[in-house]
Structure formats: structure tokens, C-alpha cells
């Protein structure tokens, strides 16, 4: 009974890989993580990567500038497909963000210690993904400087937003999500900012981290309130993350377009978001882990667990496809049936079958532990899933819209070069922000890693 209840039988506990490599002390953990920010020379690969992604960010700015000057007609959206790349990429980006909140909040509540070394990074990913996601609806408005019209406030026009519209729900959901994700991330950073403040040699660096750390001194009473606040935020962020993608799914399912109006959309979108998000976490952490030599902190156990979550959420997404197809037939509605047939046999059928291969077929490899523990295979699968989830949004948005009830109003959607340049630009912007984050902030939570360090031998007396 003296043993901690978590891991069960000791024989089994030994089989599982540890969450932190052997031989680490409080000092070595602090040094190893903070040195990436404070003392190590910025590696050449960082400069190359940052330069490329910075140039892509400039491409994004150029595309947005052109859009503002010349108008939304630059994009491929037109009747009947009024929502194209803007909403596809909005949903894709915000879905990617969800894995970050999931790792930091839900796994914290479930007391999964292995989350500790990936949560900071995943939260940063959330923030940057949400920033990219929020860009799209703003740009699609055509006059983004009037974005404040979306908020309910007494105004001289005498009008109010329509709270029965899911698009207004989206305003509240996405802005709440962005703010709460930022708070969660920043609160988690405070003790580590204090560490950087106290470790920094350069006076300017010390002052900057000092201001950000807000005078944190590690007082026991502060820690108590801090931990309560962090846990409560996790408890709030968990339903929030589910609600955000649910509201995104309502953007579609509240309407009556076949292919959009399905009751399964909320859980199926949430699972899809987590699926894409974990794929992105793997896509990013696998190279960073080996480049910065963080194998002691992001162990095979982490990689294996993320592979399992990828498989589980992928199966839920596949369940969604299955239910949509079955119910389209079962409903007896000719519009529902045509929608499914049009996906499978219509002009976009290549994309549909590519989606099935990427999201349903390939991830079945993850049943094998050998595949989950093979970094290259896992990395490729994570990329495939990222592509698959993008295709899923394309199918849902474009294929549902392009042939709806009235055949005379049918049409095709083709993204323009500007659609692509904006999308590629957001990829660059996302990665550029991540490069900056890796360089200037500790990408692994130092204080939480300290709690994983075993107590010095002989002194522990619990």
C-alpha cells in the first residue's frame, strides 16, 4: 500500500519506458532546458529555418495586403461555393490547436505525468494555430477593420448581432479560446520566466524576463494558489476545447445543406481536431527532439502514447464517415444519398478516396507497436494524417456546397494562386512563430520537469 497507486504491478511498471531519462537532478534539468534559450549558440539550422519561414510570412503579408487592396474576388470563392479555402483552413488550423489544450489540460486532469515534457510546446502550438485560424474569417469579411461589428454593443446603426446564428457563436468561441489558451500558456510560463531571469547573465535579457516573471519568487503560499489556479484553468479549458470545435461544427450542421446537417458533427469534429492536432505535435516534436537532444525528456513512451491517441481519434473519425454514409442511405432522403454518391463518384472523387486512404487506411498501421516506436514511420504517418484532415475539410466544405438542391445552380470550385499563397503563408507564419518560441522561451516546462526528478536518495521521508 505504500506504493503509489498509479502504475499497478511493479513488473508492469518496469516494462513501460520512463517519462524522464535516468540520472537527472534539479540542476541538470534546469540547465539542459534553459541553456537552449540562454547560453547555447543559436544553431545554423535555426537561422536557415527561421529565414525561410520568415520569408513565407512576408508572402502571407503580401497576399493579405493584396486582398485588402483588391478585394475578396482574388480568391476562388463564388456562388455556389461561397466558402472555400478560408473556412477549410480556418477549421484545419483551429483543429490543430486543439491538441495543445488537450495535452495540457485533459492529460493534467487525468494525472498523466508523461504530458509534462510536451505540454508547453503543444500550448505554444495552440496559440500560433489559433492566431492563423482567426486570420481567415477576418480576411473573408473583406473589411477586417470593421471586425468589431461582430461584437454586441449599443451602436448608432441600431442593429445587433444575431445570436441565433452559429457564426456569432463562433466569434465568442474563438476569441474566448484564444484568450484562455494564452492565459493558460502564460501562467504556466511564469515560474520558468523567473528561472530565466535568475539564470540570465546579460542585463537586458534579465530585465525582459524579469518584467515577464512579474516578481515570482517561488513562495509556498504562491505555489499553492498557483497550482489551484492552474488546475482550475485546466478544468475550464477541457470543456472549452470541446465546445470550440463543437461550435465550429455547428457552423455547418445548424444549416440544412446535405453533407453539413448531421447530428454526429459535434463529436466527430472534436475527434477530428484532436486527430489533426496530435499529428501536428508529432510532426513537430520528432525532429526537434532529435535536433536538440531531448530524448531524455521526450522519451519513446511519449511517442508511443501519442501514436495510440492518433489511432483512437482516427477510429472515431472513421466512425463518423461510416455513420454519415449509412444514415444517408437509411434516411431515404435523395439529397443525402446524392451527396454521398457525389463525394464518392463526383468530380472531386480523387480527393475523397485520398482522404479515406490518409485518414482511415494508413493510420491502421498504428495498431503495431513496431510502427508506433519507429520515429520515421510515425513522422510520415503524422504528415499523412495532417493532409488527410485538410482533405476532410475540403470535402465537407466544397463538395457539399458545389452541388446542392438545385442542379441549375451547380458549379465547381477551384482555388486560385492567391488562395494557395495565403495558405502557404500561414504555414510559414506558424513555423516562424514556433522558431521564435524555441529560441526565446523554454520549450519544456522546467518546473514541472523538476517534479519528475526522483528525490535524492536517503533523504526522502514521505
Amino acid at each position: 500500500m505504500a506504493k503509489e497507486g498509479q502504475s499497478g504491478n511493479p513488473a508492469v511498471a518496469e516494462v513501460e519506458a520512463p517519462v524522464i531519462g535516468p540520472g537527472h537532478t534539479y540542476a541538470s534539468v534546469t540547465d539542459k532546458i534553459s541553456s537552449i534559450v540562454l547560453t547555447r549558440k543559436t544553431p545554423r539550422a535555426w537561422w536557415i529555418g527561421f529565414t525561410i519561414t520568415f520569408l513565407l510570412t512576408m508572402l502571407l503579408l503580401y497576399s493579405i495586403g493584396n486582398l485588402l487592396v483588391r478585394g475578396v474576388g482574388l480568391w476562388g470563392v463564388n456562388v455556389p461555393v461561397g466558402w472555400g479555402f478560408d473556412i477549410i483552413n480556418f477549421v484545419w488550423w483551429i483543429g490543430i490547436g486543439h491538441a495543445g489544450t488537450l495535452i495540457s489540460a485533459i492529460l493534467l486532469l487525468l494525472r498523466q505525468e508523461w504530458r509534462t515534457s510536451i505540454n508547453r510546446f503543444a500550448e505554444a502550438m495552440t496559440l500560433f494555430a489559433v492566431a492563423n485560424a482567426a486570420l481567415y474569417p477576418l480576411m473573408h469579411m473583406g473589411r477586417p477593420w470593421l471586425a468589431y461589428w461582430l461584437l454586441p454593443y449599443p451602436n448608432t446603426m441600431g442593429t445587433w448581432p444575431q445570436p441565433r446564428s452559429p457564426l456569432v457563436w463562433d466569434v465568442f468561441a474563438v476569441s474566448t479560446y484564444a484568450l484562455v489558451s494564452f492565459l493558460f500558456w502564460f501562467i504556466g510560463l511564469i515560474p520558468d520566466l523567473a528561472t530565466l531571469r535568475d539564470r540570465a547573465k546579460n542585463r537586458f535579457v534579465k530585465i525582459v524576463y524579469g518584467i515577464l516573471a512579474m516578481g515570482w519568487r517561488g513562495s509556498a503560499i504562491h505555489w499553492q494558489r498557483y497550482e489551484t489556479a492552474y488546475l482550475l484553468l485546466a478544468g475550464l479549458a477541457t470543456p472549452l476545447v470541446v465546445s470550440v470545435h463543437t461550435v465550429v461544427s455547428f457552423d455547418f450542421s445548424i444549416g440544412i445543406i446535405p453533407g453539413w446537417h448531421a447530428t454526429i458533427f459535434p463529436p466527430y469534429f472534436v475527434a477530428g481536431a484532436i486527430y489533426a492536432g496530435f499529428a501536428m505535435v508529432l510532426t513537430l516534436t520528432i525532429p526537434i527532439r532529435s535536433y536538440y537532444g531531448l530524448e531524455d525528456f521526450i522519451t519513446m513512451r511519449h511517442v508511443d502514447n501519442m501514436g495510440k491517441i492518433l489511432l483512437a481519434t482516427g477510429l472515431i473519425v472513421a466512425y463518423g464517415y461510416m455513420m454519415e454514409t449509412f444514415m444517408a442511405w437509411y434516411s431515404g432522403s435523395k439529397y443525402e444519398q446524392y451527396m454521398i454518391l457525389n463525394r464518392m463518384q463526383g468530380p472531386y472523387k480523387t480527393l475523397y478516396w485520398a482522404l479515406i486512404v490518409c485518414n482511415v487506411v494508413v493510420p491502421q498501421l498504428l495498431w503495431s507497436q513496431r510502427v508506433r516506436r519507429n520515429l520515421i514511420a510515425l513522422w510520415i504517418i503524422s504528415l499523412v494524417v495532417g493532409v488527410g484532415m485538410w482533405l476532410e475539410r475540403f470535402i465537407i466544405v466544397v463538395v457539399s456546397l458545389h452541388r446542392d438542391f438545385l442542379p441549375s445552380a451547380w458549379g465547381m470550385y477551384r482555388p486560385t494562386a492567391w488562395d494557395w499563397s495565403t495558405y502557404i503563408g500561414t504555414l510559414g507564419f506558424f513555423l516562424a512563430l514556433l522558431f521564435l518560441f524555441i529560441r526565446f522561451l523554454p520549450m519544456i516546462s522546467i518546473f514541472e520537469m523538476r517534479t519528475l526528478v526522483p528525490h535524492p536518495a536517503g533523504k526522502a521521508r514521505h
Binding site: Q6, T246, P266, P267, Y330, S331, G332
Partner: protein, 380 residues
Amino acid sequence: MNGGAVAEFDRFRRRVLAAGAVALAVCAAGAAGNPDQFFRSYLFAYLFWIGIALGCFAIVMLHHLVGGSWGVVIRRLLESGAGTLPVMAVLTLPLLAGLPRLYVWARPEAVAGDELLRHKAPYLNVPFFLGRLAFYFAVWIALAYWLNKWSDEQDRTLRPEVKTRLQWLSGPGLVLYGLTVTFASVDLVMSLEPHWFSTIYGILFMTGEALATIAFVIVALWLLADRKPMSDVLRPTHFHDLGNLMLAFLMLWAYVSFSQFLIIWSGNLPEEIPWYLRRLSGGWGWMAAALLVFHFVVPFVLLLSRYNKQRLRILAAIAGGVLLVRLVDLFWIVMPAFHSGGLAVHWMDVLMPVGIGGLWLAAFTWQLKRRPLLPAEGGY
């Protein structure tokens, strides 16, 4: 398990069996006068208890995959619940006698006059329905059999590879569970109103069943808590975890139910909205409001408090309430298909859950007494 406890279990088993048999006998006598009502009540009560059996079956597999001490202390309860599935298979047989009374699509003259039912006939027809039910039960009973058998083997040998084998079975097992329970819920319940459809329906049933199961297990744990191996092991953290699990399933149920309602309410399509119109008018509407309050708001607020979750007596009282509202929720889902006019409760609707429950609990207790109350692998 020692002799005294076995005798006590046997006494309990005899009592619930007697109560169940009497209740069923009274209902069977009533069936002569009102056979339609007999089958309706039977279906409703049957769904409640098979839901708990299936929930036990799913949660034990979930626990094999994710681990945690909360699951070790309830594992024998869950395994015993899954072990009752053969009994539920036998209890399905009376239902089959009433198919045309329950399901419109099982009446050839009704199908002939309804274009939509003719369209669905390749799926909704009696032979295929029976074949599907047989398949579901074959999958469930086989998986539950292996889960229990290997768990016994693990108890005897304590070899880690048995645990690996259990985990290996549980992953695909959960996939099979998800598919079979989804289609079983479509077949048994959704097809009562064969024009209506909802893609989230299977998930709604799975979350409801999981919620009822956790509530049932908490109540059972409370009854067993003073007994020897349990009283040495149980700690407030176990109750806290189980309380949180119940809270999670409660929120999930509310989420899924509200999502379905909001989407159908907003779409307001003639093929979907009648399901809710029937369930929100007259007495059914009041029942829906009561469900909102007692199936979500009250237990949700009570379960937010750490104080309530760490005390087994309070937690068991909440769980008992949840079990009761689960019954009401199922009633609200099943019965308006027959009584679209307004809320109507027949005496058989009250007696039948007792009848089937008595038989089910007897089977459950028989399963439970066969083995020690706690698995030998430890990790409490």
C-alpha cells in the same frame, strides 16, 4: 471468498431472483389483457439492464487500455456485469415474440403502404434483424468470455503476458463494441420510429450506458465497502476518481443530447423534428424539463464538490439518483414512439424493470461470488 460472504451473496441472489420472478409473473399475467403494453414495457426495461451489462463490458476494456487504480477496485464488478451478457441473450427471446407489435417495419401490410419503409426494407426486415441480433450477442459474449477467462488466468498465474494479452484484446474489442452497440441501438430503438434518423444516436446510447454503469458500480461498491478485502483497500481517492468519471460521463451525455437537440431544432426539417415535437409536447415536455434538471443540473452541481465525491455514502446517493433518472431518460426516448398523445405510465412500466432487474442482479451476484472481490494483480 470466505463461506460467510458466499452465504450472504447467495441469500441476496435468492431474494432478487424471487422478486424478479414474481414481478415478471405478474407482468406475464397482465400480458394476456394488454400484450402491446407488455412488449413495450419489456423493451424499455430490457434496454436499461442490457445497457449496464454492455457498459460494464466497455469500461473493463477501457480500463485494460488506460489503467489506473480506480478501475482495479471495480474490475470484478465490471467483469461480473459483462459476464451476464449470456443471460441477457436469453432475455432477448421474449422480445422476438412481439416484433410486429413493437416495430412498424415488421408488419408487412404497413411496409407495403409506405414508400420509405419499402426503401429501408433491405435493412429493416425480420430475418436480417434476427441475424444482426445474433451477431451482436455472439461478439459480446465471445469477447466477455475471453476477458473473464484471461482475467482468471491472470489471477492464478500473475504473468505479465496475460495482461498484455488482455490489452491486445481490448483495443479491437472496443472497436467491435462501438460498431455493434451503434447498430444495436439503431435496430432496437431508433427503428421504433422508422422514418426518423440521427447519426449521433449510437454515441448517445454509449454515453448513457456508460453513465448508468458507473452509477451502478458506485452503488455496488458502497454495498460492498465494509466487506473484508474491500475495506482494506478503498480510499477516498478511489471515490473521487469514480465520482469524476461519473461527472465526465454526465457531461458527455448532456453534450451529446444537447448537440442532437440543437441541430435538429435549428434545422427544423420535417423528417427530423417530429421526434422532438412528440417528446416536448404535453406531459413528455415536463418529463424533458425534469430530465434537464435531474439528469444534468442537480447531479452536475453535486459532483463538482470534492467533499461529495470523497465520501462514498454521499456519492452512492448521487449515483442512485442518476440510475433512477437514467431509467426516466430511457422511458422518454422509447415510449413516445407509442404514446404520441401524451405522457402515459402503465403499471407494467414500473414493474418490468424490477422483474428483469431481479434476474439480471441474480446473474450478476452469481458471477461476482465466483471469484475474489479484488484482482490479484494489485495496483489498488
